[in-house]
């Protein structure tokens, strides 16, 4: 009798565990949008600020180097800080070693190419680290967001410069 209950118990446990895993896997897959790119792990920290990135899935940004190593950020702002001074945060690497850069589209919540994204500045939406560059995959959604959230301007990747990124760190 007792062995039956034990087996039942184990079965229930296993089912729960499998269901838990099942629920977990598709959630993880969300970050693996571009094929062959390293996936965000729970232990990944932003090399710029040290934050655990998994806590802020809506804000993930990513840089992939040609040696296959990859870094995650809790917002496009910190990704740019790394991009503008690669050697400081990852000694031994250079900007020319970067193969891919991704940011998370604010509306779609999926990784998009950083170099083709549209960034909205000056809106009333704050990221985990305060003022942010909010990434969008196309001009329309960026424009819509700008109007809805009192954004000031929309810029493209080449217009992002270090002084601009640093100016986002103001506290008000």
């Amino acid at each position: 009798m007792s062995s039956i209950t034990r087996r039942r118990c184990l079965q229930v446990l296993m089912t729960t565990a499998l269901a838990g895993l099942g629920a977990f896997l598709p959630a993880r897959r969300g970050f693996a949008e571009p094929a062959g790119v390293p996936v965000l792990k729970k232990s990944d920290r932003c090399p710029v600020c040290g934050m655990f990135v998994y806590k802020y899935p809506k804000w993930v940004a990513q840089i992939v180097f040609k040696d296959g190593s990859s870094y995650f950020y809790d917002g496009a702002k910190d990704m740019f800080k790394h991009y503008f001074d690669v050697a400081k945060y990852t000694p031994g690497k250079a900007a020319s070693d970067i193969t891919h850069m991704y940011v998370t589209d604010y509306y779609e919540v999926e990784l998009i190419e950083a170099k083709t994204a549209y960034y909205v500045l000056g809106s009333n939406i704050l990221g985990p680290m305060g003022h942010e560059l909010l990434p969008f995959k196309d001009q329309e959604s960026a424009q819509e967001f700008l109007e809805d959230h009192r954004g000031k301007s929309i810029i493209r990747f080449p217009e992002v410069r270090l002084p601009l990124v640093m100016s986002l760190d103001r506290r008000t």
Partner: protein, 332 residues
């Protein structure tokens, strides 16, 4: 809204209990300081003799709570960080208003004073004729106002938390470049020389402690060395130990190490460090009292115990740090 957070409630409640009990004890403490006369059989003296048992029992619990409250405060600040934009650990939360860091510093200072008071009280209870009664209430007269100020600061901090303020994250508070403030200055200390200085301090402290333990000489020096060890270690955590724990070349924060993601290693390090510092200061507090007749037998045993405690904790601290540096993937 934040007032309903369990951590905030616990902190404010603890602070309130400590403050009220402190006022009650200080009231009798002052009477004892002014009117205590062991030779007298007056009514007042009899009342005071009875009261001192109550007051010192109350105080030993209150000070134990005071010791705990330091870690409770850091734990709560760490716990609150997801609620505030820009905060990623206790460093950002404490920076939300002007009272966060002053409360923390005063709590650290009061931790040591409360610890020393507990040691004095323990020694006093061993003697039959209340040998340290005036000394321990004199110390209380110093500690009580500080603890009351701490309670005020803590209330001002928690009640003044506003959710619409963007705070700075520890990445910028403890950055070696943005050189404004003590945190950045400490982070900017060159890790290379700091490592040598740290291990030099470890060696001198452990050697002098062992010498004192075995030969009974050099107690003041060891006590002083343990204070130096305490301060050096805190500076070292910011300067280089943190880098090895986080495995990030630019992250100097002394608060992120208390998070669960780092296996709460920060609590281990800080608890060892603070208790060892209290024991170290306690030695220099007790040595001048060894001449007192009723404590002649007690003090040497107590100082030996304190020496052993602090030595074990200092050694443990240095071992854990060395292990983390050796096992770290960060290469500098």
């Amino acid at each position: 809204m934040l007032l309903l957070h369990p951590g905030v409630i616990a902190n404010l409640l603890a602070s309130l209990i400590i403050a009220v009990m402190m006022l009650y004890s200080a009231f009798y403490g002052v009477q004892i300081l002014r009117h205590w006369d062991i030779e007298s059989g007056s009514e007042l003296q009899l009342v005071l003799e009875r009261k001192t048992y109550l007051v010192s029992t109350v105080l030993s619990y209150v000070f134990a709570l005071q010791l705990l409250s330091l870690f409770m405060y850091v734990f709560t600040a760490d716990n609150l960080h997801p609620l505030f934009v820009g905060a990623m650990c206790a460093a950002g939360t404490l920076n939300l208003n002007a009272f966060g860091y002053p409360t923390l510093l005063l709590k650290m200072f009061n931790f040591i004073l409360a610890g020393v008071w507990l040691i004095l009280n323990h020694a006093d209870n061993q003697g039959y004729d209340y040998p340290l009664i005036k000394k321990k209430y004199a110390l209380l007269a110093v500690v009580a106002p500080l603890i009351l100020i701490e309670a005020l600061l803590e209330f001002a901090y928690f009640l003044g938390l506003r959710a619409d303020v963007i705070t700075s994250c520890c990445g910028s508070l403890f950055s070696s470049e943005q050189g404004d403030g003590l945190g950045s200055d400490l982070a900017a200390l060159p890790p290379g020389p700091m490592i040598w200085f740290f291990y030099g301090t470890v060696f001198v402290t452990l050697a002098s402690g062992l010498y004192y333990y075995l030969r009974g000489k050099g107690g003041y020096f060891y006590s002083f060395a343990s204070m130096v060890f305490f301060l050096t270690s805190i500076v070292s955590i910011i300067s280089f130990i943190s880098l090895y724990i986080y495995e990030l070349p630019t992250h100097h924060c002394p608060f992120c190490i208390v998070m669960s993601e780092y296996d709460y290693i920060g609590y281990l390090l800080y608890i060892a460090l603070f208790i060892a510092a209290v024991a170290g200061v306690g030695i220099a507090t007790l040595i001048p009292l060894r001449g007192i007749e009723s404590l002649r037998e007690v003090i040497p045993g107590l100082t030996r115990k304190l020496t052993m405690t602090s030595l074990v904790l200092f050694f443990g601290f240095a071992s854990v740090v060395t292990y983390r540096i050796a096992a770290s993937n960060l290469i500098m």
